[in-house]
Subunit: 473 residues, 2 copies
Amino acid sequence: MRARLWAAMAAVLFTGSITAAAATRETRIPDASIQAAAELRERALDSDLGYKIVESLTTEVGPRLAGSEADARAVAWAEAKFRSLGFDKVWLEPVTFPKWERRSEHAAVIGAHAQPLTLTALGGSPGGTVEGEVARFKDLAALEAAPAGSLAGKIAFIDFAMPRAKDGAGYGPGGRIRSRGPSAAIRAGAAGYLMRSAGTDSHRMPHTGITRFDDGLTPIPSAALSAPDAEQLSRLVALGAPIRVRLALDCGWDGQASSHNVIGEIRGKSKPDEVVVIGGHLDSWDLGTGAIDDGAGVGLTMAAAKLIGQSKLRPARTIRVVAFANEEQGLYGGKAYAAKHLPDVKKHQIGAESDFGAGRIYAYSSSAPDYAKAADAQIAQALAPLGIEHTPGKGGPGPDIGPSAAGGMAWARLAQDGTDYFDYHHTPDDTLDKIDPKALAQNVAAYAVFAYLAASADGDFGSEAKKVTPPDE
Amino acid sequence: MRARLWAAMAAVLFTGSITAAAATRETRIPDASIQAAAELRERALDSDLGYKIVESLTTEVGPRLAGSEADARAVAWAEAKFRSLGFDKVWLEPVTFPKWERRSEHAAVIGAHAQPLTLTALGGSPGGTVEGEVARFKDLAALEAAPAGSLAGKIAFIDFAMPRAKDGAGYGPGGRIRSRGPSAAIRAGAAGYLMRSAGTDSHRMPHTGITRFDDGLTPIPSAALSAPDAEQLSRLVALGAPIRVRLALDCGWDGQASSHNVIGEIRGKSKPDEVVVIGGHLDSWDLGTGAIDDGAGVGLTMAAAKLIGQSKLRPARTIRVVAFANEEQGLYGGKAYAAKHLPDVKKHQIGAESDFGAGRIYAYSSSAPDYAKAADAQIAQALAPLGIEHTPGKGGPGPDIGPSAAGGMAWARLAQDGTDYFDYHHTPDDTLDKIDPKALAQNVAAYAVFAYLAASADGDFGSEAKKVTPPDE
């Protein structure tokens, strides 16, 4: 999960623009479909299919950094899994992007308090070995205020503890330290950059994640310390004498790579050319096995569509599940999907991506325009028995859906409880055991109900081509 | 902490042998001392001195593997800390032992499910690179039952999950898999040995710890997987096809090293040659910073003695704090102490070591003979306001006190709540943030009260020379 900002922006752009087209239509869902969705919900709650799919991906493939050999295995896995689940149509769409690799990473305090530090390179960091005095800053603003040249030869270090929040709001400031900190360090003259991980745990688990360097700057080795290591380094600095650190990263960009969005469809009965899009992203960071980020999203949406396919009453429209390529390094799969499919935006009934872990879904909202509010409320009512609150107007689309939403596709948000998400996000600890099978089944049920009802509605949810140029990430 | 078995054995040997000498004496504690201990208890609860000492050791020295450069720094730190705290007498006693080093460790599943594994070499393991098919066993008995030669060229793997327990009882079976598993694997012909870590967490945190190879066997590379990695490997094996792992350890024994028991005393008023011994061990494993194992033991006993030294009414006897050398690899410091001081066993009023983390103390017991039961009860009564129960006859001495107890020294047990201890024990995660300062202050209070009262008693607790030969570990 990344790029929440862009998704939020897309949501804002979108909200204002639809109502003009509304006028007299009203989108509603037939009673028979509501009835069938209730049955589907109970069937999904009793099923372990979502968990079994995540188990299969994270075990058989494991970590799958975009562009790696394992990423290619993940694509083959997804295609085979769609087929073995009996999806009606399965295909691949190519996605290309720059390839980044991590080979090794070491760091240590040197001198009188010599000791190793646990850290991980930020995605996009160049390799290199830097030794220098640590200059500590309490937050991004403090580093951004450092005069040009003031950190010459030093290693800038931001020790900011990201706050815990159910909706992941703490990732805003935490993520900015990762995305903007390195460039701020370079402007002040630093030779290296360290940050306390953008996470909420207190384990020796560094959190990686993509960073970028502003145009015109020469990138410097940039890494995230685990929380205990960041606290240790701050205590050492507080002793008063200069603290020197040696940072040795072997990583970097290495040409172009390609992967694929892997797509599977459960065909609709009467309007098979119109689609409800659900999905997650197939790639993961290399440290963990990508269970909560985002094996869960892939597994639960595959399972939801499969269960819909087994319903006695097939929905009118097609359920399209997309396992997006390379979300982590810049929404490449989501952008490629939008570029290829936005000309057909009106055939997209609505879309929703799951990319915020595997916690229980607690809130539902969508971009439904006024004329679809009745159907939106019907969906919310069908979700209510799962403990899901209707929160109209809140949130935005998932990251890979963002570019499509910005282009005019209607979106829904099934908000997961992310209280613990940033304990594991982008760390070696993102493994299968962090997923509660019962919570995942609740997610499957919610996605199944949502997708089934949206695909069964008489009328649309407002997808309409818009002239929005997605920012170049 | 290790070698609970030996400590327990010493306890058993000891319990039966003392009562004969009892006869008409009765050991009791004067009322004025009881009063002073109550005041000391409240002062200790309000003090953060114990925590500050642990913070200083774990921050300024960090990891301190026995025989390493950092271990030497820890010895210098301990000597300086005793002096700066105003201890009346401070000295070092040399301890020598074989030196083991960890340089690097890597492992990966190879083949169709290629992925890295997180593990750590067991202390005492030789280095080497092994590639072989994994043969999984559910417990030690299953591996011990494997016929000779049946594992030729394979990597033996025991996936046993150690149970959680307040008193650490799960470490019995868990620890045996570490100490006896490698030899069992060799007997069956294995080329390498893997085990699920002897721990209770579910993080990517492997637990190290010493292992031994039985005489006449050629040691093989032996390592512990983190719990999620062990589960992953078991799932891969369960897929049915052979799973091959490549294990590359660079570690091993490298000659002799020396370190020191570091000793500080708060001098007694009327019987300064008689001592109450308290302490912890100064060395740690190399992965974490040795906060709960055993910076806590060192810090809390130093603080307890310092607070006793500040009492208006000094106790009759001397409080001796020992920061033991190299506990982790074989109780070298504890054995050296016993070898040097057991001729003076009758001058040791009683001893207690803290080496089970920093959880609240919930139970007190001792080896007090019948004639000292009144004093024992007085101590228990003074501890009761700290939430400590009197549990006569339970437990045994701490590991480094074990050899002295086996030689006739009276011992006390201040049992810490170890429910979470094996989440962090011997892992990179054993860091300062895992210590609750309030719980540590409760520990300081308990040790201060115990040591003060034992040092103030009229009469002894039964220390008496015994003919017991400590087993050669």
